[in-house]
Amino acid sequence: MKNPVIGVYVCHCGSNIGSVVNVPEVVEFAKGLPNVAVAREHKYMCSDPGQDVIKKDIKELGLNRVVVASCSPLMHEHTFRKACESAGLNPYYFQMANIREQVSWVTTDKVRATEKAKVVLVGAVNRVVEHDPLFVKSVPVTPATLVIGGGVAGIEAALQVAASHTQVHLVEKEPSLGGHMARFDKTFPTLDCAACILTPKMVQANTNPFIKVHAYSEVIEVSGYVGNFTVKIRHKASYVNNDKCTGCGVCITKCPERGIPAEFESGLGNRPVYVAPDAPQHGKKPKDTFGKRPAIYTPFAQAVPNKPVIDRDNCRYYTTGKCRVCEKMCEPGAIDFDQKDWIEEIQVGNIIVATGMKTFDPTPMKNLGYGRIPDVYTGLEFERICHSSGPTEGQILTWKKESPKAIAIVHCVGSRDDKHHRHCSRVCCMYSLKYAHLIKEKLHNCEVYEFYIDMRCFGKGYEEFYSRLLQEDVRFVRGRVAEVSDWGIYPEEKGRLVVRVEDTLAAQVRRIPVDMVILSTALEPAENADHLKHTLHMSCSSDLFYLERHPKLAPVSTATDGIYIAGACQGPKDIPDSVAQAGAAAAQAIGMIKRGVVEIEPTTAHIEESMCTGCQICIPLCPYTAIRRNEEKRIAYIEGALCKGCGTCVGACPSGAAQQWGFDDRQIYREIEGVLAAK
């Protein structure tokens, strides 16, 4: 090994580091460290002039090691490695000392910060001496993409990737594509019909020769690595042979079991049916089909693919052993009661996760009466009431099927609330305004109250929409609703609901009688988000939405290469933002497919043959079964492509034969010595 010649560069990061750490002092200190040939400071090391300083020094001073003390390596390690490489130095002869995120930003004590910066720097300078040149491996990329989630984000991502004429697998857990958007009536702020925008896209996705739609399916296992994932998809038994089914819908109309609350109607079917006290009693209960579906069903009329599924838990044949009406009625003979779940294995290079969100269940907020008072609806339920193909065919009616005279819309239910979710759900203000507009459009004389904390109308055209609503005779009351009750005190409250609220602009407590209450509920990660997180080894942020690699620099990437996120699974998002992210995720996938090869980090483990005693301790430790035994030599070896570089085997090897490139024992020992060298 040549004698190490180290260049040390300390960054001010504007004032981010420089205002706390005494950078010139650190530079002077670095000059005195062993093997350091040059130490310099710069206002912004990551800028082009900053990088040029390193490149120039490598060439002119013959540096063979580089240390940069600046931000986190998760931020700019790649940048500086590239700079070293472009000057002809192996990029792994570089080490970063994090003196911003873990020093200057976490203390105000300038003396101690400067001391810690020096200590961290010694660790890095000590470590870099032991670095080895490493070479990035390139492996081919499977030119296929998996998209998980068939809502608007997933469909958009699938269509964009398919536009590059590469294979896409679109997996949706429900029987139809569409996600939440398929339930919406109008979209804010343009009041376009949601179905008119979405259904053509659903059909395009289903008919595109490059997209294979796996509806009513779930991803159960993912293995492999960037560019080469193996994915297992479980196709749930629908008890309908899709090859034979023509989608005529006779089975749906003939199914005798009709009282199952429809998932698509967002819980409207869970309410008991209203029976007027003076209704004639015939001994027979009135037939209740409000918000209900049969046991064999498609979620909605424009479902794509338009193939029904049988809900096994509620089907009379499965529960009582008798019925099979659908089988008798089905002319093509598509009903197959013996169908079983089956598992398909596919190979893909990239995965786009677009699993979306669900809405907060306000039942625990007893003061708002949801679940107890039938005329308290969630936003999504009201969406269905408003929808022309919903159970009321677009007529706004109370539970008693009367036209409401006053409606209250309660904002921030479950959002911006320390007891539930601290985040702002971003879309509620806008959909609440949309409801106000739709109510005013349908019922001119109906009073509409919006109870808000702040109006957050941030998007393009949103503030204008708000201004328009201010002209539409909607009552805006600033204050968090204390209670919704059905206990009228005053004559005008009898038989109605009463909203109690502190009007913080008028500085008084008010009682407002209304006939219907809409709760603008918070957005939460989708039901199976946590499960999928483990399947894909992703991280979540504190609000439990999937965590992006960097909020600004890599908003659709995750910590795992080759896995991207789009839409509301990353955080509450409206349709334009979801679609934009889907496009961004698709571009990442297409980019990798176009390159054809992917570079794999060389920081994997390897076993020094001469030192291995063949004890086999490492073999069961490897989570990827990358360690095998060479029976002939009676030693272990590592299957390079399978190793992901966790180093667990290295930490456990009693003879020191297992080592990890870039994180071997020598390097870490030297770093430990370095950080403890002072005193």
């Binding site: 873990q102 810690k116 991280s539 942020s541 180093g647 020992y669």
Partner: protein, 150 residues
Amino acid sequence: MEPFEPRVVAFLCNWCSYTGADLAGTSRKKYPTNLLPIRVMCSGRVDPEFILKAFREGADGVIILGCHPGDCHYINGNHKTLGRFPILKKLVQQFGIHPDRLRLEWVSASEGDRYAVVVAEMTEQVRKLGPLRWNTRIKETVAASAAGGE
């Protein structure tokens, strides 16, 4: 005499704890500067020898920080750390090191606040135990026994 400032070597896994530590910085949480972070790819990489090495080099405490069980980027590397840890605690005790000087904590990528709390706690915990000076103590013991043998 200068007040005692403990030195605690921290092994942080790249995916959860190091990212969590960065988040503490990004959210400008303030915590003591006594922690000396060393990044490894997974808490499973932390060789028991690293811990002894750190104590030998003069650390007053060592903390291993990894992903919460079930959240490991490498499926279950942290489970192996968790398995080793009770033995490690016993081992350091046999070497005459108070077991509270060694700690294992889970900090996820979103727990910047928690990271700051853990650092503050660990610093105080070690501060109470006082300086370790393990290496010097061993040398003194060896010298004393050598002197006694003569």
